[in-house]
Amino acid sequence: MTRVLDVRDLSVSFPAADGRRFHPVDGVSLTLDRGETLALVGESGCGKSLTSLALLRLVPAPGRVDAGSVIRLGDTDVLALKGEALRRIRGRRIGMIFQDPMTSLNPVFTAGDQIAEGIRAHFRVSKSEARARALRLLEEVGIPDPEERLDAYPHQLSGGMRQRVMIAIALAAEPEILVADEPTTALDVTVQAQILEVLDRLRRSRGMAVLLITHDLGIVAGRADRVAVMYAGQIVEEAGTAELFAHPSHPYTQGLFASVPRITGPLRRLTPIRGTVPPPTEWPSGCRFRPRCPQAFDKSVLAPELMPVGPGHRMRCWLAEEPAAQVELSRRSG
Amino acid sequence: MTSLLQVQDLVKYYASSGLFRGGDPPVRAVDGVSFEVMRGETLALVGESGCGKSSVGRTVIRLQEPTSGRVVFEDNDVFALDRKSLRRLRRRMQIIFQDPYSSLNPRMTVGAAIAEGIEIHRLAVGAEIGRRVGALLEEVGLDPGYARRYPHEFSGGQRQRIGIARALAVEPSFIVCDEPVSALDVSVQAQVLNLLADLQRDRGLAYLFIAHDLAVVRQIARRVAVMYLGRIVESGPTEPLLSNPRHPYTVALRSAVPEPDPGRKHARIVLSGDLPSPSKPPPGCPFHTRCWHPARDERCRIEVPLLRPVEETFAACHYAELTPAAEALAEA
């Protein structure tokens, strides 16, 4: 296994109205190996998208990545890069696709132009060579009649087609890592299935690592090798996909599972998590899930670290070290 | 159960407008849809974007004028009503919207928004209005003190509750729910789904629940109608429709639902191609351009299949009896 990405203690802060700084991303650590898919799961406002932007140093002003954060791409220290060197990382080492294929494409250029632009930004090739590569990319992402679509403008393409073009653009510079931020949220389910299929195929054929950012546990189940669940700027639980789905341990993760309507199995009333995700300026001290947690106890007023609960399985909850809870956890999983 | 709403052969075309586009064919958003909603029940209308499900919802309560068809609601011929009678009938049929951010007037307090219907229909006067607004806020799980605040102070889920309270204020018997939980986070989505179920139980409400998510539909509706290109292609009780779909489009839709269960391997039928343009629907079966049914043939391209009873559901497919079960596909 080759480690392609190593993020340690990543924090991103923004100035608050009262002059202090708040941290929408607070001490996130994650790793990504070649050919692996890691899913970063959470609800809106949990900091998952900001985390992905920070990887490319794209945190919008006045936000900044805090001192002490480490982002290593292979042996490159991303946070030490400047100007041209930083630009060469973007696209070339990490490609990115976003949720909204409608606004991510420039409406006045053809699909082919926009893919070729990405190729020529990173490789010295002729225009005709760039076009030929763009055509191959469109074939690779499964666009029917690629030759015709090369000269199509974004408005002439459906949502699914546009997302494929976005993927082709992200692949243009042959990155080692593809960051997919809610890549199918804006698409219909049948189209979503197509796009996820494409991403999976590309990961296998190119040995690319994929960071899949999503709110949808259903997508994660079929696609990811490992899962990290985020809540209030922190990773609260991480495990291999099978392990996490078999033994969701953090009360927040359990709450998410209980909230999702199922298409099979017995029909039961949903058990929502009470309350709403507080804004980053109002995160509670101690365990951040405490005010909404049905299992909060006296120790929850202290901030927990990520603690082991199983093989390759950690969670940010004091229940992990409670013997009684351990019994409860094993009973639930058994 | 008694019938509350009957929709017969509803058609809604949108003329392609503009000075230089006079010759274009109209967009056939809804192309002959019929169904019935009983008192106190939920009928789900499912489909992907562009299938016409939202147009059905809006036309049924006449927020849009129909092209043709007939809707009878509580013995009123909805499309034959004059403006004044229609406004009176609006008390009985309401709508809640997908986007919690655009569904509330940003310049109106929450209390004023909820009170608007009460004022229009003169259901209360003076201090009684405020009392009712407070009670409605409580009923949807919000603090009555929120009445003085403005919408921008609330989260998406809270706004959706406010929208529900506004609809409830006029004491309707029927609510069109136009993708009410699609824009919400999962934990909040569950809260709103439970709230809608509770309100239905307590007030005997009927819902036309428009959605694209089959899992959500299973949670809230006992009957489902699946739409494709402006038509209902399959309808019936939720459980058999999901476990034994007879229309190949329903099978594809069902198999595309991502399940939060990594152990479960089922056949994914990935439909090829895109939805045809609703202004130029294909002849014959509207689904034939993307159909994967093993028995599809020339007949599908020529003859429009009608909705007919097949096993436990109604399906508009010439070969519905022969549609393979999803499990059979998984094993193959």
Binding site: - | R58, I61, L63, L86, R87, R88, L89, R90, R91, M93, Q94, I95, F97, Q98, D99, S102, S103, L104, N105, P106, R107, M108, A113, E116, G117, I120, H121, Y150, G163, R166, A167, V170
Partner: protein
């Protein structure tokens, strides 16, 4: 409405907006209080040597050929110019909003008819339209001038508001009001008008500057505010004959016009930024 003081505060926070707002406030105060402290501008001095006196301690802006104090006249002119502009804009914004709301809400034939009328009106230069009317009668009363400027100034505003209404009409809260059985009047006033107040306010602020310039131009041509009522444009007209000997007679009203128009534009721009939801 909570938004109005908020918008005003953020106008004040923008450097340009603050300068503009401060100048306009100063001008309004001066226009109101000026006559109490400054010499009567129309009082004629017998002393011939005081005619056309340059700026000095007695007359900071100098005097004109009729030995009137230029500062006093500029301040009196501010009263007239600001009052005329404000009233004319109030009229044009009301007309523009009414037409825009009706056209946008009703749609169909009403909309088409109103908008073709606006197209036609916008094809004729406003000044030309005004000259056509104002050149006919011997004297034009001030009220008529205000009404005419107001009646020719609403075309662009109506388009702006119509576009805003077309956008708002598709917002779910307007559909919700319709579904509640709200009347057209209720929807127009409680939902559409209130939410297009922002653009309307910007149009009004920028319109004030336009009308001040227009009125100055008309007065300069002798077709606007009639003497002896002082107006900035009229003062420049009067100054023409002594421009070489006593340039201050024309320069100070000219500066007043420039600064006032600049100030309204600064405030208008800051207001536009403040009300732009993308900026917030």
């Amino acid at each position: 409405m909570t938004a109005a003081p908020e918008a005003l505060r953020s106008v004040w926070r923008a450097p340009g907006g603050r300068a503009g707002l401060a100048f306009l406030l100063f001008l309004v105060l001066l226009a109101l209080a000026g006559p109490l402290v400054l010499p009567d501008p129309v009082r004629q001095f017998d002393l011939v040597e005081l005619a056309g006196a340059p700026p000095g301690p007695d007359h900071p802006f100098g005097t004109d050929q009729l030995s009137r104090d230029v500062l006093s006249r500029v301040v009196s002119g501010a009263r007239v110019s600001l009052a005329v502009a404000t009233l004319a804009v109030a009229l044009s914004v009301t007309l523009g909003a009414a037409v825009g709301l009706v056209a946008g809400y009703q749609g169909g034939a009403v909309d088409a008819a109103l908008m073709r009328l606006v197209d036609a009106a916008l094809a004729v230069p406003r000044l030309f339209l005004l000259l056509l009317v104002l050149a006919v009668p011997e004297r034009v009363p001030l009220v008529a001038l205000i009404v005419l400027m107001g009646a020719t100034g609403w075309f662009a505003t109506s388009r702006l508001i119509r576009a805003e209404v077309l956008r708002l009409r598709e917002e779910a809260f307007v559909h919700a009001a319709e579904a509640l059985g709200a009347s057209g009047r209720r929807i127009i006033f409680r939902h559409l008008l209130v939410n297009s107040a922002g653009p309307l306010l910007v149009a009004a602020t920028l319109g004030v500057g336009d009308v001040i310039l227009l009125e100055a131009g008309l007065s300069f041509l002798g077709l606007g505010v009639q003497p002896p009522t002082p107006s900035w444009g009229g003062m420049i007209l009067d100054a023409r004959s002594v421009l070489v000997m006593a340039p201050w007679v024309g320069i100070f009203p000219g500066i007043a016009i420039t600064l006032t128009v600049l100030a309204t534009n600064l405030v208008g721009d800051a207001l536009r930024d403040a009300l732009d939801p993308r900026g917030a």
